[in-house]
Every structure is written in structure tokens, then in C-alpha cells.
Symmetry: C2
Subunit: 247 residues, 2 copies
């Protein structure tokens, strides 16, 4: 048996998230189906790097599986793409060490959250962004966001029901930029993220951009270590897992 | 009766184009339904500026209709958006002269055709672009495209079945730019376009970018005045009507 790593992009709009669930269409389920169709003598279940929620997109997520095959590693991506729906693409397949585990590794992950703000929603932008009619001041969001950088207890940005043993995480870089007049992008790179963390950060920055909170409050919200101190969880369609870098 | 003009954006993916067809879901049909729901005492049929094909998108198309109402013109957009699917949005409504006709006016229209070129398609880009695995050299396409500017007989770029009385058109500006490493955008502004003209131009430029034709050939293709001289009609999902400017 050899271990292989797949790099996967997907439009999450119509899926019930990454994680396998009986009776639900999930990215993990689709990958398992494609792999078991390609390698029918095995019973393959992938291990994913990030269990993205329903409606969340990924440019780069990772799945690992074991199989005994003579197929060259780099050909597996092509064979899987023939067995996957068009909104899921494997853009790289490679052999890795037999003990490589996609979640138990030192890693940098980059997420982007996109907010489309305009008087009317542009239907060519709403599939991959959260629309708000609120007038947002990106400079207020830029001023606030750097407070997230560094090692902090992010309990204020962790959804109830999380099974994380600690809520301390390190954000390596936190930026806000304007992609266009009507699109603000929040980009966060860190060594790991809590459940719903990016979406709660986005919801809080949105309130700062809309003038409902002051930029300086973000520091206090972190220090409060309480979910109720932060803003609402922003909806999934604005979120995209952009990059995973194994160190 | 007063005449009103609607400015409309849509994601054309799931529609059978603009033009009303019995039994088919079209943009025109959806607008008529929304208007007749809002103004039930009238029998409203919009007149469109551009009859975009099935699968083609628009950031800005125009529809005109007549109604006898006391509703302020600028409120009509909001009322219609409540009656339209989310992938069609009216972003402006205004009163116009009673004799305004959206197709019998001096106008500048801007179309963009987007080509996503990469070893694997990015599923977050393929909804609004044509994907090709061919390696494209954008500089060859840039070199070629300026030959389109000016008044020419564009018969080579007109689909069979066109009812146009003349195939002479004027292109005011023709540009190719790289939006990102894997996305080339062709942008054409003109006073009018023939049926499938932008898609045939895109298909021809794609062949030039891929090295199958030389940049200098575009001039000869125009001069040939024959559809068979040009390249293939590029598929609809790459095309977007970006702007209509009434002069």
C-alpha cells in the first residue's frame, strides 16, 4: 500500500460540506466514490485536511488515501476528474510518506472571506461572496484587522459545539483589501483555525466596516474570550480555503 | 402610459437566453412575469436591447416597457427584485421618453469574453469563463486584436442565419488583457455586433493565442468576408454583456 495526497478545488454551493454524512452529497463522499470506482478492489476512505462547512468553497483542500496500484501518482488526478462532477477538480496527485496525516502536521492555511457591498447585488458576484447593502468603509476594517495577528486565545471567535482542546491559535497575517469598488476581501493565514473562526471574524469586521463597532474594539473582543462579545457568523458562500502549505 | 427603462444583470447559466420562447425559461419571460405580477391590470411585454444567447451573462442589459402607474420610477427596481429569482437583478429603473426604443438608438456596447487557461480547470472560474487546457500566449492575441478596430465588413464573424441587412459594423476599441496568470479577457466596444460575432472573434483569437494561426492573419480573415475563414464559435459561458451606453 502506498499513500497518496490529492489537492482539490471545489465550488461548495450545492454540497453539504466536506465531511461524509449518510444521505447527503458531500465532497468527501464524492472523492470516495470516484476513488472506489477507479480502484474497485480496495475500500477507500479519504482523510481530509479541512472539513469545510456546507456552501464553503476551496481552491486548495487536501485529501489523503492509501491504495495498492501501479498507476503513476500524477495520473490519478486525471482519472479521478473523469469520475467527479465538474465543480470538484483534483489539480494534483502525488505520493507521500506512509505516515503523512493531513491534519497532524505543521501547516499554514490561508482563508479568504469576500464581501460584496453595493446598493444592488451583482448576480455575477453573489455565488462567491456575501452580499450586503450596508455601506462599508474598508479603511476601518483594515485598521482593525491587524489586532488578530499573533498568538491569541480566540475563544470569542469559536462556535459553540467545537471539540477543540484549546482555543489558542496563531494568525500569521491578517489583511483586508479592496478587490474592486464593490468587493472587500479579508485574507487570513494561520497555523490553524477554530470552528467557524473565519466566518465569525468576517461578521465582526463587517460590523466594524458598517460603523456599528469601532476598529479598536477588535482587541477587546479577543480579550473577552467569549463568543457573545463578537459579531454574527457570516454566511458560508463568502468563504474560500485558498491555500494549504505543509511545512 | 409612461415608458420605463430597466437596467438588468443576470447569471445566464440556467436560462435559455434573453428572448421569450414558449416553454423555456428566459430572461425576457422572467421580466414579463415579474412586471405583470407587479402591475396586474396591464399586459406588459418588455423590449430588450440585446438578445443574449442561452448561457450568456450580462452585467448590464436594458429592457423597456410601458405602464400606467403612480409608483415612483426608481421604486420599480426594488419591487421587481422581490419578484425575480436571485440570479436576475434590476439595478436601476427610470422613466424615459415615450418614443425611446432600446435597439433603435445610437449606442456603444461593451462585451467581454473570458478564457480560463490552465492545466486543470478551477471550478471557481469555469462558470464565468471558457476553460481550455491549451497553453495560450496572450501577447499574440494582443498583437492581433487591434486589427478589429474601425469600420469593417465583419461577415467572417457572423453566424449563419443572421437577419442583419448589412454585416458592416464599427468596433471602437478591441483589447486583450490578462486578469490573472490563468485568465485572459477580450474586451470589445462597438456601436453594434452581429449574431455570435464576439464568440467567433473569441474563438479565432484563441487559435491565435494557441499558436494555430499567426497574429497577422486576423486582417486577412476580416478581408475574406467568409464565415469559413474565421475560427470556431467560442462557447457561451465566457461571454458577458458588460455595458450599454446610449449616446
Amino acid at each position: 500500500m502506498k499513500r497518496y495526497r490529492l489537492w482539490v478545488s471545489y465550488d461548495g454551493t450545492t454540497y453539504h460540506g466536506w465531511q461524509l454524512q449518510p444521505g447527503a452529497d458531500t465532497i468527501e463522499g464524492r472523492l470516495n466514490d470516484a476513488l472506489n470506482s477507479l480502484f474497485p478492489e480496495n475500500d477507500i476512505n479519504v482523510i481530509g485536511a479541512s472539513r469545510t462547512d456546507a456552501g464553503v468553497h476551496a481552491l486548495s483542500n487536501v485529501a489523503v488515501f492509501d491504495v495498492d496500484t501501479r498507476m503513476p501518482a500524477e495520473k490519478i488526478s486525471y482519472a479521478l476528474n473523469q469520475r467527479l462532477p465538474e465543480d470538484i477538480r483534483v489539480w494534483k496527485s502525488e505520493e507521500v510518506d506512509a505516515d503523512f496525516h493531513p491534519r497532524h502536521c505543521d501547516v499554514n492555511k490561508t482563508y479568504e472571506y469576500r464581501i460584496h457591498h453595493a446598493a444592488f447585488p451583482n448576480p455575477l458576484k453573489t455565488r462567491y461572496a456575501y452580499y450586503t447593502y450596508l455601506k462599508l468603509d474598508a479603511s476601518r476594517m483594515k485598521e482593525a484587522v491587524s489586532a488578530l495577528e499573533g498568538e491569541h486565545d480566540f475563544a470569542s471567535f469559536c462556535a459553540a459545539g467545537s471539540q477543540a482542546q484549546t482555543t489558542v491559535r496563531t494568525i500569521l497575517s491578517a489583511d483586508v483589501y479592496e478587490e474592486s469598488e464593490d468587493m472587500i476581501v479579508i485574507r487570513l493565514t494561520g497555523t490553524g483555525f477554530l470552528y467557524n473562526m473565519v466566518r465569525i471574524i468576517a461578521g465582526t469586521l463587517l460590523e466594524i466596516g458598517a460603523g456599528k463597532r469601532e476598529p479598536g474594539e477588535l482587541k477587546n473582543i479577543i480579550e473577552a474570550k467569549s463568543r457573545s462579545a463578537a459579531g454574527q457568523t457570516a454566511p458560508p458562500q463568502g468563504l474560500c480555503l485558498k491555500k494549504i502549505k505543509y511545512l
